[in-house]
Amino acid sequence: MDIRSQISMVFHLDKCIGCHTCSVACKNIWTDRKGAEYQWWNNVETKPGTGYPTKWEDQSIYKGGWEKKGDKIDLKGAGHRKSLTNIFHNPHLPQIDDYYEPFTYKYLDLIESGPSSDQPTARPVSLITGKPMNIKSGPNWDDDLSGSPDYARQDPNLEAVTPAEKEALFQLERMAMFYLPRICNHCLNPACVASCPSGAIYKRGEDGVVLINQDVCRGWRMCITACPYKKTYYNWNSGKSEKCILCFPRIESGLAPACMHSCVGRIRYLGVVLYDADRIHEAASAPDHELVDAHLNIILDPFDEEVIKAAKENGVADSTIRAAQLSPTYKFAKVWKMALPLHSEFRTMPMLFYVPPLLPVMASIKNVDQSAQKEKMNEKAKVWPDKWLYDTSTDELFGTIHQARFPMKYMAEMFSVGDENKVEEVMKKLMAVRIHRRQVTVGDISEEKAAETLAEAGLTAEEAEEIYYLTSLAKFDDRFVIPAAHREQAMELMEFAGDKKGDTGFGFKDGTAKRGL
């Protein structure tokens, strides 16, 4: 048993309003530089949609992640052989146009252009070439475009959905969408690390943050292919790869990463979990249908005496163990089993878990003849006088989940390797907590019925209250449980404090006793 601690995250999709505050916070701090203009270490996608870069989930195009070969797994588009044979030209590398060509406007022309018979205009210019360009795509280009033929219908996850379900999903009146915020998953079995020929990418042992050493990176570009989530980015100006660093300078000072700190919907949770590193390979090689369980199984119970003892022997600090016990991510992913990893089939074992959204699923349940309905519509108010589209009654309990507005298969493709039961279990829990709270606050549901719902979802009333608290009321310290970085042991996690003693102050990296080269 090799117990390590890992920073993990939970995004509660029911609460995401798609405001992109996280993206902007991240951009302002980290990627507002030449060569990084197109990079969004944090981005928010509209689902169904093609995402960023376009169709990133389709590994038949990008060849990301691991694939199972017999008992073993190997990288799909990179690896010991391919990372070297493809080094002169990587056939699976996304191009900048798969993201978008960064641009700005020549605002000064509005003020300084000479007298003319036309209005001055600010033409868009490329941030790469500096020349005027026609904008074909941009950040969040497909934002809110659910149902659009170019974006929503091209969603790779829709391949598993039946044509009828697909059509139903895109009927104008029944259209639904949800938001999917994405950052680097800081995986347990990272494909980017494995693919790097230079060895520049590494996982930080103490907290599992995946980082790229910019001095060692030589720009061989294999990580961009290998990461199935397309969360390593090539900086065309510096010739290096860059990625989300989970705001490690903030984490080391006990602050939440900028995207999480600024989250308006408070959808984000961050905490550490203890896991068994010896079992990573075994779990990552599990058969498809066991992947999610295998992933969650290597996360260990931080209250277990054996686990605590082994963790201590392995150098895990007491404060980290304590943080693991209080971790909101442990509760969501492991105790309540409400959070699922995104696309486990890529086998990188992402440590970012998602609570799948319930709202668009339960909002529409009825199948009514539309022509009859049209006649009933109030011409002025443009509404129907009855509950045709939205029915919030709770008589049927879980009936609504099966007549979901989003095909359950679609959710399963994203969050549980196609296993609809897994997503359904989470949905039931989300619904049960709602019904329980409705019984408590509104009171139009009988206690028996609420209890029955909870029992069917496998929750107790106490658990439901806890879930309700962490979902709706949780304060900063409940959502972000960040253990100390232990500067008494390492000044920054990068350097030994002993190395710095007696140095010449700010700016000198070498010791004063050092002479020559």
Binding site: G79, P94, G205, G219, G315
Partner: protein
């Protein structure tokens, strides 16, 4: 042998080797961050394929051919003793030389015509690409006009190269060579001299060590077995890190 000639065939090679050795170390230590070949595939991929692959493939094979004649001249001569084997060697070398030329030509054309690539091009990129173009054209001309290069290189030029390397410079053989061959040698010195100042530095950091490395890489900033043990002596040496 006048002063000018001795500079070109004795002084220049030593200057080139010296600058290459010291310059590469200086560049790697002083500005290691920039030791790479700024890939532009992200900005343009299709034309790069038809340039980069034939260029690298051609260059590597042609370079290995030169290296072989330099290291085992007797072996090459013995191989060439049979006319058919000589032809096979020459034609193979020429084919890869052509691949080198076509690839490099495509790369150069792409670099000067594509606005996106222009944005990431500097003077040294153009200079080194032009020098390489001159070098490969000279080499191809020599192979056509002065047959058979693989044999006379092994017998006449290999001793010259060894004489330079062993600090007993003897350029007599080169002085008797035709102008095209002499230019090829001078240009080769120039290219070696410029390596530390160009993107060619990336050939020194070719990542062969990747083959012997396990896939996953975890870096600890402290020794986790010792860090919690009060009996362990504090150590000023950092644990293995980057």
């Amino acid at each position: 042998m006048n002063f000018f000639e001795s500079f070109l065939f004795v002084g220049l090679p030593y200057l080139a080797l010296g600058v290459f050795l010291i310059g590469s170390i200086w560049r790697y230590r002083g500005n290691g961050y920039k030791v790479s070949s700024l890939s532009s595939q992200f900005l343009e991929g299709k034309r790069l394929f038809w340039g980069s692959i034939p260029f690298h493939l051609g260059l590597i094979v042609v370079f290995l051919g030169h290296l072989l004649a330099f290291l085992i001249p007797a072996g090459v001569l013995a191989w060439n003793a049979h006319p058919l084997r000589l032809l096979i060697l020459e034609i193979t070398g020429y084919a890869f030389g052509l691949s080198f030329l076509v690839g490099l030509g495509q790369l150069f054309y792409r670099r000067i015509t594509n606005p996106r690539i222009q944005a990431v091009t500097n003077e040294m990129d153009l200079i080194i690409e032009l020098l390489l173009l001159v070098q490969v054209i000279l080499g191809l001309c020599v192979a056509i006009f002065y047959r058979w290069g693989s044999s006379w290189f092994a017998s006449d030029l290999t001793p010259y190269l060894w004489s330079i390397l062993l600090f007993r410079p003897d350029p007599e053989a080169v002085l008797a060579m035709p102008l095209l061959v002499q230019l090829h040698i001078i240009n080769a010195s120039l290219i070696i001299l410029l390596i530390p100042f160009t993107r060619l530095m990336h050939l020194l950091v070719a990542p062969f060590h990747y083959l012997g490395r396990p896939y996953q890489r975890v870096i600890w900033n402290w020794d986790r077995k010792k860090v919690r043990n009060p009996k362990e002596r504090w150590s000023p040496t950092r644990p293995r890190n980057n």
